[in-house]
Subunit: 338 residues, 2 copies
């Protein structure tokens, strides 16, 4: 008999909640045999949404949660006090072993805090990094860490590199992933204090394919599969990538449709352009995993629609099937043994 | 009688050295009455290049320098030992008061070291930031610092904000420039230790228009005129912006010319697209100033062509005419007086 993966989906807190969340869950259980989804949110609202679709009733269950943590709520306080929110109820289900993972489009800070406090870090893991998959010219890179762990230490970055490498290899399927550290030059002696301290430690790691420093300009070209950096820099890289790409696309669209002739030209290039832009679509990958916890927590975009929801649910399934946390445990044991 | 601005132009070390450097200098002295340029490099080579053009001979003088610091030379060592290089000879001329500023397309690290060691910091300035002008959707922002000052302190960032504000107002002509600090959230309590320490200090500055935190995603939209951050993050932002923009442009071009129909469409949108892309052309602004030194040092792109050279020479002229260093001195005095 095959193993069933149980995922908790926080249906609330996103721009398209709960409609697209529910639709994504329905599509996911239709495509994957061994997937079971708990959808958390206000019972009545979810019943109404689910009522719109045909699906195998035994594969989706509603868990009632009357409250919602919004993006305006202060993370620590929200996790501590909003016991009846979909996020707190959902995260606790992972903690209690009722589910393998948790997916949410909600308040990022609250997901980070809740993941660490409610689900909890694996024994031996010092910090839980948020590691979005960022599309590049030739595929996708894992940018680790973009979370709330500012002012990280070298030992944290080494764990990030290890966990990121395991994730890229076994969940995303990149063989022997190239691991690099973000730096302001390619030479080993370059960098700030943290990078200079971390670089030799990464070089010593036997179980990762460390290729050295990567400059930010090579990141969009996919110069590495696992891109290690502390959270402040990672967050800046992620948001700058998103902001710059959307600004450039908007400007190009504006330019292309600014005269009658260019508007006709725009229609003629559109199909090819769309195909190319699709390769940079982050929603194909289904969100950013928060690694090193007792279960997988995946943060999807606030603007996520059903496709990203579905892919995030699949990500949890692969995570479970590939026994990622066991692989991380093995690495931790091998570290202790040394 | 008007004041003549004397600029030293390092003709060597760039991808298009010395041809485009010399051409840029010739164009500059043709356009500006009060500009005098010392071109530094191997005498014979420069004589030959200059021989190609008609220009007022009394406005350009060759300074012989047989050696060149290349991008492969280690900065500190090169500045210390390569006394006959165009860079060392040129920087020393600023130090000795023979010229008001120095422009070079050469080794960035060597320019940063040479600027600080040979030209020297102004009394009271703790660090000299490299502050490139980065085009955005609505104009241009000064990103300060992108230099070699890693692991900066809060007091450094406060000086960067002040110098950057003076530069944007009086050299670039942005009235009452908006100053912001790069952060991973808009709230004051967010950020790493450095940002948390710097934020209240910037808030207290009376002579700048501090608007708070800026997230990296808003940087391409021109959410602030002076964007303050420590050098590691600034360098990452600068290089990521360059890398991502060039990768996206290449991908779009590839897509547009991938079928016969799209190729015709591409030709129809090209004029409008070119016009838009020109607004993102960093060479319009003429390079990155290194501020806080006894004279202006401007780093231009290694790939700089004559237009960027000319604009960088003009930048030195405005710097001199606007007496920027006197304005920085006034600010330093007002700080001491408090």
């Amino acid at each position: 008999m095959s193993v069933v993966t149980k995922v908790v989906l926080d249906a609330m807190g996103g721009d398209h909640s709960p409609g697209e969340m529910v639709f994504g869950a329905v599509n996911a259980v239709k495509e994957k045999e061994d997937l079971f989804v708990y959808i958390v949110g206000p019972q009545k609202v979810l019943e109404e949404e689910l009522g719109k679709y045909e699906y195998a009733k035994e594969k989706i269950e509603i868990v009632d949660a009357p409250d919602v943590i919004t993006c305006h709520d202060a993370p620590v306080n929200a996790i501590r006090t909003m016991k009846n929110s979909s996020m707190v109820i959902g995260l606790k289900m992972v903690k209690e072993g009722k589910a393998d993972g948790f997916v949410s489009p909600g308040n990022s800070g609250a997901i980070l805090v809740g993941g660490q406090v409610l689900v909890g870090r694996m024994k031996g893991i010092e910090r839980a990094p948020l590691a979005p998959l960022v599309p590049n010219k030739n595929g996708v890179s894992l940018l680790i860490d973009c979370g709330a762990n500012v002012d990280a230490r070298a030992s944290h970055l080494v764990q990030f590199a290890q966990m990121g490498s395991i994730y890229m290899e076994h969940v995303i399927g990149v063989k022997n992933p190239r691991v690099a550290i973000v730096n302001i030059g390619a030479e080993e002696e370059k960098g700030n204090a943290l990078v200079k301290e971390t670089f030799p430690l990464l070089k010593e790691c036997k179980d990762i394919n460390f290729i050295g420093s990567i400059e930010a300009r090579d990141f969009p070209y996919g110069a590495a599969d696992v891109v290690v950096t502390e959270a402040f820099v990672g967050n800046v890289m992620l948001k700058l990538s998103e902001g710059l790409a959307s600004m450039l696309m908007a400007s190009i669209k504006e330019a292309m449709t600014s005269t009658p002739v260019s508007t006709i030209g725009a229609a003629m290039v559109k199909p090819q352009l769309k195909k190319t832009l699709k390769t940079f679509d982050a929603t194909e990958y289904g969100g950013a995993p928060l690694l090193g916890l007792n279960g997988l927590v995946v943060k999807i975009h606030g603007s996520a629609t059903n496709k990203e929801v579905k892919n995030a649910l699949f990500q949890v399934e692969t995570f479970k099937k590939q026994e990622i946390n066991n692989k991380i445990k093995e690495y931790l044991l091998s570290e202790t043994a040394e």
